[in-house]
C-alpha cells in the first residue's frame, strides 16, 4: 500500500488542471459554483472537449479508445475536474452503456457505438425503471416481441434522466414472459428518433426538468441492436448497476460541497460575527468532512481492488449508501447555514443567467431546492434499503 503521490502523478494533475483552465467555459464554471442548473449545451460542449482530448472515456482501457489510466490517475482526474467546477460527466454513455458494449457487445456493435460515446457526439439515457419496476427491477414489463430481424417494443419507462436530451436510450426489455423474471430480459439499444417513442417531462418540486416518462408504442428495433444474447440482459444490467453504484458515491463533488459549506459559514452573519465562529456549527462541518474523507478511502480501496483485476463487487453498495447520505447531509447543512434566506423561492436564479440580484446572499437561491432535490439520492440507483439487502446477502451471507 502506498498513498503518497509520485512526482509523475503531480505532473499529471497539473496537466489536467491546465486543460480545464484552458477549456472549461467560464459561464459553465460559474453555474457550478452558483448552484445553477446546466443546459444541454453546457454538458455537451464540455464532454466533447474532453472527448477531443481523449479523456472522456477515462475509465476505459486503451483497447477501446480509453486513455488506459491507472486508479490514481482516474482519482486525480475526477478530483481536479470537481475542484475546478466542471459539470458532472453524464454517466449514461461513457460510464454505463459504453462498458456494457465493450464487455458484452460484438465487434460490429463496438465499432458502431463506441466512437460516438467516446466523443460525446451521441447522448444516451437509461431505460431501466418502470411504474411497476423500481426496487423490483426484474419485474419490468416493457415487452419486446421478435418479428423477423426486428423487435417490436411496447411499454413505459419512468424517472428517465435527460431522455429529452438523448439521441439513444439503452433499455431493459422483456423478451420472454414465460420464464423466471431475470431470465426473460434482454438489453436493447434504441434510437430516440424511432417512430413510436414519446417523451413526457416530469417536473420536479423545484421546477426543474431532469426526468421523464418514456413511452414505447410499437417501436421497431433491429435485432442487431441487442447487446448480448436474448434473455441474458440481466447480466448486463447487474454489471452496469455495479458501475453506477460506484459512480454515484460522488466523493469529489462532496469534497467540493464541504469547501463550499465552509465558505458559506465564513460569510453568514451571526451575533455580530460569522457562523464559522459558532463552535456548534463548526463541529457539524468537521463531522461531515471526516465522513467524506472516510468514504474517499473506502472508495480508493474498492478502486484499487478493481485495478488488480477484480470487478466492482457487492461492497460498492456500501459506497452508494454512505455517498448518498453524505450528499443529503451536506445539502441540509448548506440550507441550515443560509438560514432564513433559504425561504425565498427564486427559480430565475437557478435556470437562467440573469443580471437580477438574488434575494439574500448569492448562495441562498439553490440551498432549499438542492436540499429537496437531494432526497432522491437515497432512492435512485437502487434505494439504500435495496443496497443493504445486497450487502447483507452477498457480503455478510445472511
Amino acid at each position: 500500500m502506498d498513498l503518497a503521490l509520485k512526482p509523475e502523478h503531480k505532473a499529471f494533475a497539473d496537466e489536467v488542471r491546465a486543460f480545464v483552465h484552458k477549456t472549461l467555459l467560464p459561464a459553465t464554471k460559474a453555474k457550478t459554483f452558483a448552484g445553477k442548473h446546466y443546459g444541454r449545451d453546457d454538458h455537451v460542449e464540455w464532454q466533447q472537449a474532453l472527448g477531443r482530448q481523449g479523456w472522456l472515456p477515462y475509465t476505459w482501457p486503451k483497447k477501446y479508445g480509453g486513455p488506459g489510466w491507472d486508479v490514481t490517475q482516474r482519482f486525480l482526474f475526477e478530483n481536479v475536474l470537481a475542484e475546478e467546477g466542471a459539470p458532472r460527466i453524464i454517466p449514461f454513455g461513457v460510464k454505463m452503456v459504453g462498458p456494457v458494449i465493450y464487455t458484452f457487445g460484438n465487434d460490429e456493435q463496438k465499432e458502431r457505438f463506441l466512437p460516438g460515446i467516446r466523443s460525446s457526439e451521441v447522448q444516451w439515457c437509461q431505460g431501466y425503471s418502470e411504474p411497476g419496476a423500481g426496487s423490483d427491477l426484474a419485474n419490468l414489463r416493457t415487452r419486446a416481441v421478435r418479428d423477423g430481424d426486428h423487435y417490436i417494443v411496447n411499454g413505459q419507462k419512468t424517472w428517465t434522466s435527460f431522455a429529452h436530451w438523448a439521441d439513444w436510450i439503452f433499455c431493459l426489455v422483456r423478451t420472454d414472459p414465460d420464464t423466471k423474471p431475470q431470465e426473460g430480459i434482454s438489453f436493447l439499444l434504441l434510437d430516440m428518433k424511432t417512430p413510436g417513442i414519446t417523451v413526457r417531462p416530469i417536473i420536479m418540486m423545484d421546477g426543474a426538468h431532469h426526468v421523464n416518462d418514456v413511452f414505447f408504442d410499437n417501436v421497431k428495433v433491429p435485432v442487431a441492436n441487442r447487446i448480448g444474447k436474448e434473455g441474458e440482459g440481466w447480466t448486463c444490467a447487474k454489471f452496469l448497476l455495479a458501475n453506477e453504484r460506484l459512480g454515484i458515491a460522488e466523493v469529489p463533488a462532496s469534497k467540493r460541497g464541504v469547501r463550499s459549506l465552509r465558505d458559506i459559514a465564513r460569510t453568514e452573519p451571526q451575533d455580530g460575527r460569522t457562523l464559522a465562529d459558532d463552535p456548534a456549527f463548526v463541529a457539524k462541518i468537521a463531522e461531515i468532512d471526516l465522513q467524506v474523507q472516510a468514504l474517499e478511502m473506502s472508495e480508493l480501496r474498492a478502486l484499487s481492488t478493481m485495478a488488480l483485476g477484480g470487478a466492482p463487487g457487492p461492497e460498492v453498495s456500501t459506497l452508494k449508501i454512505r455517498g448518498s447520505e453524505i450528499q443529503q447531509r451536506l445539502a441540509e447543512l448548506a440550507m441550515e447555514a443560509v438560514g432564513e434566506y433559504a425561504q425565498p423561492y427564486q427559480p430565475g436564479m437557478l435556470f437562467q443567467n440573469t443580471n437580477e440580484t438574488p434575494i439574500g446572499p448569492d448562495h441562498a437561491p439553490p440551498a432549499a431546492p438542492r436540499y429537496f432535490n437531494m432526497r432522491k439520492t437515497s432512492i435512485y440507483g437502487g434505494s439504500n434499503e435495496i443496497q443493504k439487502n445486497i450487502v447483507s446477502k452477498m457480503v455478510l451471507g445472511l
Binding site: D136, N139, M205, P269, G272, E340, P344, Y345, I359, N384
Partner: protein, 331 residues
C-alpha cells in the same frame, strides 16, 4: 391533568378539518397559489365568519375568549392542506402583539377590524444579519417632531404585499443586539418611502424584502412602550413557533396517512411494500414521532424538540413515497 379537548374545541377542530377538506384539495391549492395575492378573499371572509380570526383574543379586546389552544387546533388542520391564507402573520403575530401591547385606541383601530376580516398584518423583524437573534436589529427609528422616522431594511416579511399595516421592529436606542432599545411601530402598508420586493417562498406563501427610506409615522404608531418591545416580540414569536409546530403536526399526520395508504397498495416483489419489515419499522418510527410531536396542551417549551421530530418524519416519508415529499414549513 386533562389533555382532552372540550366539546367546543372539538367542534372547532371539526369545522377546521372540513374547511381544509373542502377548500384545499391539492389541485385547488395550486389554483390559489397561482392567484395574484396567493390567497382567497372568500376563504379569509369565511374564517372571519367562523370566528377563527378572533377566537384567541379576550372578550374585552373584541375576541371570543379562547387562547393558544384554539390557535393550535386550527393551525393543525391548516397543516393538513398547507393553507395559504395569512393567518400566522395577521392573527398570531400581528394580532397577538396588538393585543399584548396595544393601547385601547390601537385595539379599536386595528384589532377589531382584523377580527372582522377587514385588516391584515405583517411582522417585519428580520434583517440580513439577524439570523435567529430577535434583538439583532439595526433599522433605525429616530425622533422627528412628535413622531418618528424609520430607515433601514427588513427581509423575508411574510404577507407584506397584502398587509394593510406592517408592524416593524426598530432600534430606538442602544447598541447592536441589545434587547433594550427596541420599539414596535405600526406602519401603513403603502407608506411613503416604503418600497417592496415581493416573491413567493419555497412553500408558495408570499414574502417581501422591505426598504424604509425615511418613512414618517406619528407618535401614535408606537405599539407598546418605546425601547421596551423585546419581551412583547419574544412572546409573540414563541406563540408563532408553537402555532407553526401545530401546523407541521397536521402536515405530518396527512403525509403519514398518505404514506401508510401507499405502502399498503404499492407492490414490489409480488407483495405490498408494507409487508417488508424495514418499511414497517420506518412507518412505526414515523407514527411514534408524530405521536410525540402532538402538542401536549399548554406547554410551549417543547417546540425545538418537535421540529426535530418533524424533520425525522419528513426524511422517512421521502423514502417510502419514492420521492413524493410534501413540503414542510417550520423552523
Amino acid at each position: 391533568m386533562d389533555l382532552s379537548l372540550s366539546d367546543e374545541q372539538k367542534q372547532l377542530q371539526d369545522a377546521a378539518e372540513r374547511f381544509v377538506r373542502d377548500k384545499y384539495a391539492f389541485e385547488n391549492r395550486r389554483k390559489i397559489v397561482a392567484t395574484d395575492r396567493g390567497w382567497l378573499t372568500e376563504n379569509w371572509t369565511q374564517m372571519a365568519e367562523l370566528g377563527w380570526l378572533g377566537m384567541a383574543f379576550k372578550e374585552e379586546d373584541g375576541g371570543y375568549g379562547g387562547g393558544p389552544i384554539e390557535t393550535m387546533i386550527v393551525m393543525e388542520q391548516f397543516g393538513k392542506g398547507l393553507v395559504l391564507e395569512p393567518f400566522l402573520p395577521t392573527v398570531v403575530l400581528g394580532g397577538g402583539m396588538i393585543a399584548a401591547a396595544g393601547s385601547p385606541a390601537q385595539k379599536e383601530a386595528l384589532l377589531a377590524p382584523m377580527i372582522e376580516g377587514k385588516k391584515q398584518f405583517a411582522f417585519a423583524w428580520l434583517e440580513r444579519q439577524s439570523r435567529y437573534n430577535l434583538a439583532d436589529v439595526s433599522l433605525k427609528a429616530t425622533k422627528e417632531g412628535n413622531g418618528w422616522s424609520l430607515s433601514g431594511h427588513k427581509g423575508v416579511v411574510y404577507n407584506a404585499a397584502s398587509a394593510d399595516n406592517i408592524i416593524v421592529l426598530a432600534r430606538t436606542s442602544g447598541g447592536a443586539r441589545e434587547e433594550k432599545g427596541l420599539s414596535l411601530f405600526v406602519v401603513d402598508g403603502k407608506a411613503k418611502g416604503l418600497t417592496r420586493r415581493d416573491y413567493p417562498t419555497q412553500d408558495s406563501l408570499r414574502a417581501s424584502e422591505l426598504t424604509f427610506d425615511k418613512v414618517s409615522v406619528g407618535a401614535d404608531a408606537v405599539l407598546g412602550k418605546v425601547d421596551a418591545a423585546f419581551p412583547v416580540v419574544e412572546e409573540a414569536v414563541d406563540r408563532a413557533i408553537v402555532a407553526l409546530c401545530a401546523e407541521a403536526t397536521g402536515c405530518m399526520d396527512a403525509i403519514n396517512a398518505a404514506t401508510l395508504e401507499y405502502i399498503k397498495t404499492r407492490k414490489q416483489f409480488g407483495v405490498p411494500i408494507g409487508k417488508f419489515q424495514v418499511l414497517q419499522h420506518r412507518m412505526v418510527d414515523c407514527f411514534t414521532n408524530a405521536q410525540e410531536a402532538r402538542w401536549p396542551a399548554r406547554d410551549w417549551k417543547c417546540s425545538a424538540a418537535r421540529s426535530h421530530v418533524i424533520r425525522l418524519v419528513a426524511d422517512a416519508i421521502a423514502l417510502m413515497n419514492g420521492g413524493y415529499l410534501k413540503l414542510l414549513r417550520g423552523r
